[in-house]
Amino acid sequence: MMDCTRMHELLDAYLGASLGASDQAAVQQHLGQCAECADVVTFMQSDIQSGQSWDAERDDQVVGPVLAATTGRSCSRVQEVLAGDPLADDSDLLRARAHLPGCAGCRQVSAVLDELPNLLPSFASVDPGPDFTADVLLATIERPSLWSVFTTRMRDHLSRWQRRPEFAQELSYAITLLLIVACTLPGSPLREVPRHALSLVHVSDAATVQENGGTVGTQLRQGLSARGVRVSDGMDRLGTHFMGAGRGLVDGDLRAMGENAGQFGCDLRRLWKGVQSPAVDPESVCG
């Protein structure tokens, strides 16, 4: 069955006899079942038939004084109902519509209210200007520096490289290459190390061990000193203990070899601390 709202929408067309057959039948069926709508239609039909229009002039002359003496004009309420007052029901809406033919002001307001839903959404979007997007992107997306891009990529590559099965072999190969380069570069403190080390391998007596071991120590010391690295007097002790250990090894005196090797380790630690941090007293490193 048609409801009162739909009835109200078709009211003008019904009174003007411009409804289609199916709507006409539906309206008449509704009027047969709804006393309120039937009253409104009867009232409006009688008004039309009497040749009087429910215009503002008549409203002012007849209804206006009555309303002024009682409740006051209802235009404000009518407009709120037409604007979608949630407290208004269908019958309120119907009465508000019935008010319109006699009130030019409310008719105008009603026409504007019908127009607003089409017009207002066009105010939603306003162009902020040509550079707005670029400015926002600049302010939001942080561009990384070249250095951070480089280090990030290097970390990624290294991480992937370490996970490869050939990593250990490649690392050994690289270290070997580095040692070869370090031992062959002109002026390198390690330049003579391979030759003396090979001599040590082939030694047959303590004198040769002492001679070659001493030469390695001396050359290393000279190389370090030439680069401004502070070398303490412990370097002499380093050479002495190294040769003592070698002599013990050749003579088969394990006790002497062990003592000298221990002292040699201490000497190395002293030397290392002295190189890393000149402020550290090398003597305090190893008791």
């Binding site: 604007a83 002001g105 209210l113 066009s122 162009d127 926002v136």
Partner: protein
């Protein structure tokens, strides 16, 4: 949230720059429009709109994917605009915006006569909007202009839905009366 927007927002959360640019382009007009409504100054509205997008960018990681994006965006826009107003420490100046500033980015080009008629009606409604109270204009801005659902409007304004509904109807009535009044002045 429709699928397309959902995908763009998801991509933005993952740091996709292209998706972020698409999102900014899609909503910059609405953010700027709402900021302009509060601030009534293109310069300030532009700064506020830019700040809104910075807040959105920072807030995307914590944005609930199942929530509606547009109400969230407009809520941030409102908060940011009000922050700007507070910083200004005064009510917005009572100056009208030019209707020529309003561009509906999605409108197809109408015929010249239609354009003239539509523009004159828009101009009238726009002037009427400037004449109604701030509270009514705000709810019309959110519900009728930005077309947010009533529950989101109530949430943004932190009022019950029933209050929002009745306020919106009173605002529509006030706007319609304001339009009629301006029409009357124009005919005199």
């Amino acid at each position: 949230m429709n699928d397309d927007l959902e995908l763009i927002v998801q991509r933005c959360r993952e740091g996709d720059e292209l998706a972020w640019e698409a999102l900014v382009r899609r909503f910059q007009g609405r953010v700027f429009g709402l900021a302009l409504h509060y601030l009534r100054s293109r310069e300030e509205a532009r700064d506020a709109a830019q700040e809104v997008f910075i807040r959105v960018w920072r807030g995307l990681p914590t944005f609930q994917q199942d929530a509606s994006f547009l109400p969230w965006l407009l809520r941030i826009t409102r908060t940011t605009s009000i922050d700007h107003l507070r910083r200004r420490k005064a009510r917005p100046p009572a100056q009208d915006l030019l209707v020529e500033d309003m561009h509906d980015l999605g409108d197809p080009a109408p015929r010249p006569d239609e354009l003239f008629e539509t523009q004159s009606r828009r101009s009238l409604v726009h002037r009427a909007l400037q004449q109604i109270g701030d509270m009514h204009r705000e709810i019309l801005q959110l519900q009728e202009i930005q077309e947010l659902p009533l529950n989101e409007v109530a949430r943004i304004l932190q009022i019950p839905e029933g209050t929002a509904k009745s306020r919106a109807s009173r605002a529509r009535a006030e706007l319609a009366r304001s339009v009629v009044r301006l029409q009357g002045q124009g005919e005199l």
